[in-house]
Subunit: 642 residues, 2 copies
C-alpha cells in the first residue's frame, strides 16, 4: 500500500507499507552482496538509517550454504536486517554474463521460500542496442512471466519491471500492461547501460514514457540508479526508489563518489572531506591504509554522499523547490544538462501533476528553467481564460528582476485612464497588469541580465497573444497623459484572477449583481469578494489566488454542470466531510479531470449538493487508483485558509 | 611576500609569508570578537584548521581591561592563537554606527603595540548610495591615511583598503594608487551592503575594476565576504582572502549556513546534516537545546560549511575547473546568476590571465559558459592567425556532443579532394578541420541539445569569419565526390596549429625547407615536426598543442625580433637556467607582454641568445611585480614534456 504525503514536480514523499514496516520514499536501497558485506546490513540500518536493502536471490540460490541458511532461518535473520528486503532475480546477471539457467517460476518460488519482502520477476533485460522487434518480443515474455509471478506471489510483494530498451512507445505500452497487473512495485529496468554511457537524454525519455503508463499508486524504482548526481533529477521525474551497488563496487577500486562526480583516489589532489567516514583522514593517510580498511572507509564515504544528497532532495521536495535543486545538479555534466533540457519535451505531461501554487519564491537558474511546466500553464491559461478589460494594450518593458514592479503602478494608471490595458513583457510571456500579483508571476525571481533565449520567447509569445486578444498595441511611453476613462483597478483584478483560476463561466457566476471588495488597509490588496451580499471568495496574500467559500461553491454548482471543480464522495463520507473532515481517496466516486494539485475544489454528495470546499491534494487519476491518503484537504465552511 | 603556486581563471593558490607563518591562499579568516568567543581561537586553529583570524583592534582599544592585557602580553598570547592575526581598525564600526572618535595614527600605533601581524588603516567606508563626488573626496582621505600608515607601520603588515562605492572608475583609480604604496594586502572594502542586498552584479564590477588596478603580487581580501555561496565566484575573480563574522552572528539568531543559502532553524523541515557539528543531532534535538549550547553547535556547523566549500574551491582550482564550480554555485540565486553573466563584460581582462591550456575536459554548464575567456581567445586567434589551406570552405553541422567528431573524417577527405576546407560550426564558432584536435576544441563537452543563444552566436561568428577568410562557402553535402586535388592533411594541421599557437611569422621560420612529420603509429597523431633535418616541435597528445624545441627556439629568435616569445634573464641566472633549472621572477629583466600562462617560451640572455625553452607560469606584469616564484618552468633541452 502506497500513499503520497507531499509532492513537487512529479516527485513524491510517500509512505510505502510493507510486511517489514513502512518505508518513506524517496528511498535508496543499498545492494548487499550476500557473499561479501563491505558494510554489514546492521550498520546500514543503524548507522546510515537505510530502512531497506536489496540482495540477490540468484546468487543465494546458487551458493549451497547460503541457500540452505536462507531457507532455514529466512533472509532477515541471515542478513541480520530488521528492515525491508528486496531481492533481485538474476536478470542483471543475464545482462552481465548472458543467459541464466533458472526459470521464472523457480526464482519466484525461491524468493518466497527465503522470506523476501519484495521479490522480482525474472524479466528480460532489454539492451539499449536491441532492435525494436527484438525488444517487443522480449517484453511479451517479461509480461507473461510477470503475470505468472503475480499468480504465485502469495503474501510476497512483486516487482513488475518495465522494459523496452530506448523505445518510448514500447516503454509506455509495457508500463500500461504492468499497471493493470497485480504487481506492487514498478521498477524501470534496463537503464544501467544508459547511465554508464552518460546517455541521460535517453534516460529521461525512458523514465517519462514509463511514468505515463504506470499506475500512480505504486512506487517507481529506477533500477541501478544510485549516484548522488542523478537523485534530484530522477526524483523530479517521479522515481521513488533507487539502489546502489556502486558504493561498494567503486570502493573496491578506490573510487570516491561526490555530488559532482566520481573521483579516483590516485587522481585526487586532496581529500578535505568531513563526512563521518573521512573525518580526520588526509589523502595520504587514506592511500597508506591497508586495502581492506581503505575499501571500508570509501564504501562508507560513498554511502554518506548518498544519504546526504537524498536528505537534501527530500528537503527540497518538502519546500517545493526540487526543480531548483535538479537544475543546479544537472550542471555537473553536459550530459546531465541534456537531460534537463530534454524535460521540455515532457512539459505537458508534467503540467498535469504540477501544483497550482507553492510556498516561497521561484528561482530562475538559467534558460533551462523555461522547461518547467509552470511556464506552459501560465501561457495556456491566459490564452483560454484572459478577457481584456480594455480593447487596446500598452506594452511595458520592465528592467527589474521581477516581471512586474510596484514602481510601474503610476504608469499603469496613466495608460488605463487613456483606455489601454497595461501589459508587461516578462520571462513568463505577457503579463496584463491585473495578473501581476498571482502565482507564479509575483513569486518568481529572475536575473536582471536576460538570456537571448528567454528574451526571444517572451517577445514572440507576447506579440502572438496581443494580436489575438487586443485590437491595438502601443508602447506605454506613447500613451499620452490626458485620458479620462473611468475604471476600477481592483474590480478588474478581482475578476481577472478569478477567470485565471476558475475559468470564465464560473467567474460570471461568482461576480453576479452588486460586487463589493474588501481591501486590506495595510497592503491595499484585495481580501474578500462580496457578490450580492454573499462572501464568495477570499484572496490569499501569499500567492494572490482565491480561497473558495461555501457561498461561492453554491454559485458554481448551480451555474456550471458537474463534474466541473467537483470531487464527489459517497454517502459514507458525507457526514464526516460536511463536518469539515478531510475527504479520503477511497470515498471519492467522481472527480473533475482538469483539477491540479492544490486547486480549490467543491466536495459534493451523489446529488451534486455542496457539502464542503477545500484544496485537492491529488489529481483525478491518482485519486482513482489510490486506496489511501487525503484527496481533499477540507476547509471548515466558517474560517478561511490563510 | 606573496607567491603564486597554482592558478585558474583569476584564482590563485598562493603562499603568503607573514611574521606568524606562511598562509596558503585562498584562505578565510574567521572574525573573533575579543569579548565573546563563540568558538575559541584555539579551536579555530586546531579543530577547523584556520591558520589566520581577524579581530577588531578598535573594540580592544575601547575596552580598558582588554587593551591593558593586549598591550601587556600581546594579541597572540591574549587570544591564545599561534597563527596569523589581522586586525580591523574601526572602519566597519563607523559604517555601522557613524563616526568613530579615534585618529588613523592612533589606530595604527595601537595595532603595532599589540603585535598585530596585519593591521588596517582607518579608511573611510564608501557606502553604495554615496554620490561620486562624496566618494572621490573620501578616497583622497583614505589614500592619505594609507600613506601615513605605510610610513608608520614598521614590521607590521598593512591593509591598504580599496574603496570607491559602486563606481568602477573610482575603484580602479584607487586601486592603482594603492598598488604603488608600500601596503602588504589589498582588501576591497565597502562591499558588505552590496552582498547584504544581493547586489552581486555590482559586486562583480567592483571587484573586477579593483583587480585591474591592483598590484598582482599582493593578496586581495574581499572584506566581509564569508558565505560559502560566494567563495567560488569570488575566488574565480582573483580574491585570495575572505573573512566571516556571520558564522557566529547567524548562530546567535539560529540561522544555519548552507552552500545554497542561509536557513532559519524555525523554517527548516529537517536537519539531516552530517557535518562534525550536527552529526547525530535531529532538528528537534537541536531546537530543544539550551540557547548557548545551540549557538555553539550552529556556529561550528557554519564554520564547517565554510571550510568544506573552501576546500572544494581549492580542489577545483588545482584541477583547473573552477569555472565549472562557480557556474554551478551561481545557480543558487538569480542575483548570483547575474554576477556570473556580468563576467562577460570582463572577458577581455580575464583572458590576459587565462592559461593557454588545462588538463581534462571543459564542461559546458549553460549559455553562461560562453562568458569564459577561452571562447574569446579562440575567436580572436583564428581571426588573426588562421590561414586557409584552400580558398573555399565547406560547412559541417555536427550533431555530436563535441564540436568535431572522428566520424566526419571521411567527409573531410571528400571535401578536401574537391578543394574545400572543411569547417565545423561549433559552440566555439567556426572550427577548420585542421584545428579540431587542439585545446579547447577537442577537450570540451557540450550538451547535444544546444541553446538558442549558443546556436545564434556560433552561426553569426561563423558567417563573419568565413566571409573574411574564404572566397566561397558551400554546405558540405553539396560537395561532389569526384575531386582529385592533392593535399597533405597532416602538414596542413601541423602548420595551422603552429600558427594558432605561435603566430604566422614564427611558423614560417619553423616550417622552413623540407618538412618531415613523425606520426604516431598507434593514434595517427602528429608527434614531431622535423624541418630541414632539425627537430623543431613536438606535439602534446593531451592538448594538441606544441612543445617548442631548442632548435625551434633558435629559428624563432633569428626570425622574429625580441621580445616576441622571449623571457630575458640576467647574467646571474644564465648558468643555472641553461642547465635546465627553472627561471625565477626576480631574475627576469624582460618579458613578452603577449604571453599567457602555460605558453611555450624562449629563455634568453641579455644578448638574446637562447639558453632554454619552457612554459611560462605567470604573465609579464606578474613577473615584473613578484619577488618570488617560478616565472618559467624550464625544460631541459634534451627531453620533451609529455
Amino acid at each position: 500500500m502506497f500513499e503520497i504525503v507531499k509532492r513537487d514536480g512529479l516527485a513524491r514523499i510517500g509512505k510505502f507499507e510493507t510486511r517489514s514496516g513502512v518505508l518513506e520514499t524517496p528511498a535508496l536501497l543499498p545492494v548487499v552482496n550476500p557473499k561479501i558485506c563491505t558494510v554489514t546490513p546492521k550498520e546500514l540500518y543503524e548507522e546510515f538509517g537505510f530502512k531497506a536493502l536489496i540482495t540477490n536471490s540468484y546468487i543465494i540460490k546458487n551458493t549451497p550454504d547460503l541457500k540452505a541458511k536462507a531457507q532455514e532461518v529466512g533472509l532477515h535473520k541471515m542478513l541480520d536486517f530488521p528492515g525491508v528486503i528486496m531481492t533481485d532475480s538474476g536478470t542483471f546477471q543475464s545482462h552481465m554474463y548472458g543467459e541464466v539457467e533458472v526459470t521464472n517460476e523457480e526464482m519466484v518460488e525461491f524468493q518466497k521460500s527465503i522470506g523476501t519482502d519484495i521479490g522480482t520477476v525474472l524479466d528480460i533485460f532489454t539492451e539499449p542496442y536491441w532492435t525494436k522487434e527484438q525488444t517487443a518480443e522480449s517484453i511479451e515474455v517479461t509480461l507473461e512471466r510477470t503475470q505468472k509471478a503475480c499468480d504465485m506471489k502469495g503474501d510476497m510483494m512483486i516487482n513488475g519491471v518495465v522494459q523496452g530498451s530506448v523505445y518510448p512507445d514500447l516503454r509506455e505500452d509495457c508500463a500500461r500492461k504492468m499497471a493493470v497487473m497485480d504487481v506492487d512495485v514498478h521498477p524501470i529496468g534496463g537503464v544501467v547501460p544508459l547511465m554508464e554511457q552518460y546517455r541521460y537524454l535517453e534516460l529521461v525519455d525512458v523514465v517519462m514514457s514509463s511514468k505515463k503508463g504506470l499506475n500512480p499508486n505504486r512506487p517507481v524504482h529506477l533500477f541501478g540508479a544510485g549516484h548522488p548526481m542523478v537523485l534530484a533529477l530522477a526524483t523530479l521525474m517521479g522515481c521513488d526508489l533507487f539502489d546502489s551497488a556502486s558504493y561498494a563496487k567503486f570502493a573496491r577500486d578506490d573510487r570516491m563518489m561526490f555530488i559532482d562526480g566520481t573521483y579516483r583516489l590516485q587522481d585526487m589532489q586532496s581529500l578535505d572531506c568531513n563526512c563521518p567516514a573521512c573525518r580526520g583522514l588526509t589523502l595520504e593517510s587514506l592511500r597508506k591504509m591497508g586495502s581492506k580498511e581503505r575499501m571500508k572507509v570509501i564504501a562508507r564515504h560513498n554511502l554518506y554522499q548518498i544519504t546526504d544528497e537524498l536528505a537534501l532532495v527530500k528537503r527540497y521536495v518538502k519546500e517545493g523547490r526540487l526543480w531548483e535543486l535538479a537544475e543546479m545538479r544537472c550542471r555537473a555534466h553536459p550530459a546531465m544538462l541534456d537531460a534537463l533540457r530534454r524535460l521540455e519535451e515532457h512539459q505537458e505531461f508534467m503540467e498535469r501533476y504540477d501544483p497550482i501554487s507553492r510556498d516561497g519564491a521561484m528561482f530562475y537558474t538559467g534558460s533551462e528553467t523555461r522547461c518547467r511546466p509552470v511556464f506552459r500553464r501560465y501561457m495556456s491559461r491566459i490564452w483560454d481564460r484572459y478577457v481584456p478589460e480594455m480593447s487596446k494594450a500598452a506594452l511595458f518593458y520592465d528592467e527589474g528582476s521581477k516581471p512586474y514592479s510596484r514602481a510601474l503602478a503610476a504608469d499603469f494608471d496613466r495608460v488605463r485612464r487613456s483606455g489601454y490595458t497595461p501589459v508587461v513583457v516578462s520571462p513568463f510571456g505577457p503579463v496584463p497588469a491585473e495578473l501581476d500579483e498571482l502565482y507564479p508571476i509575483a513569486q518568481s525571481l529572475f536575473p536582471v541580465i536576460e538570456d537571448i533565449e528567454t528574451m526571444l520567447e517572451a517577445e514572440s509569445s507576447t506579440v502572438e497573444f496581443l494580436e489575438h486578444k487586443f485590437s491595438e498595441v502601443v508602447k506605454s511611453q506613447d500613451v499620452s497623459d490626458d485620458g479620462d476613462q473611468e475604471y476600477d483597478a481592483d474590480l478588474i483584478r478581482a475578476k481577472a484572477v478569478s477567470r485565471y483560476q476558475f475559468g470564465i463561466e464560473a467567474t460570471d457566476a461568482l461576480f453576479k449583481g452588486k460586487i463589493e471588495l474588501v481591501v486590506s488597509r495595510k497592503t491595499g490588496k484585495i481580501r474578500n469578494v462580496i457578490s450580492d451580499g454573499e462572501h464568495v471568495l477570499s484572496m490569499r496574500a501569499g500567492d494572490g489566488l482565491y480561497t473558495l467559500r461555501k457561498e461561492g461553491a453554491d454559485r458554481i454548482v448551480s451555474a456550471v454542470p458537474s463534474p466541473f471543480m467537483r470531487v464527489k464522495v459517497n454517502d459514507d463520507a458525507v457526514p464526516f466531510v460536511s463536518e469539515g473532515r478531510n475527504a479520503f481517496c477511497q470515498f471519492v466516486t467522481e472527480c473533475d479531470e482538469g483539477l491540479k494539485p492544490m486547486d480549490e475544489v467543491i466536495v459534493t454528495d451523489k446529488d451534486d449538493k455542496v457539502i464542503a470546499t477545500g484544496r485537492i491534494m491529488l489529481v483525478a487519476d491518482e485519486i482513482r487508483s489510490f486506496k489511501k491518503g487525503i484527496a481533499v484537504k477540507v476547509r471548515s465552511g466558517s474560517g478561511d485558509e490563510a
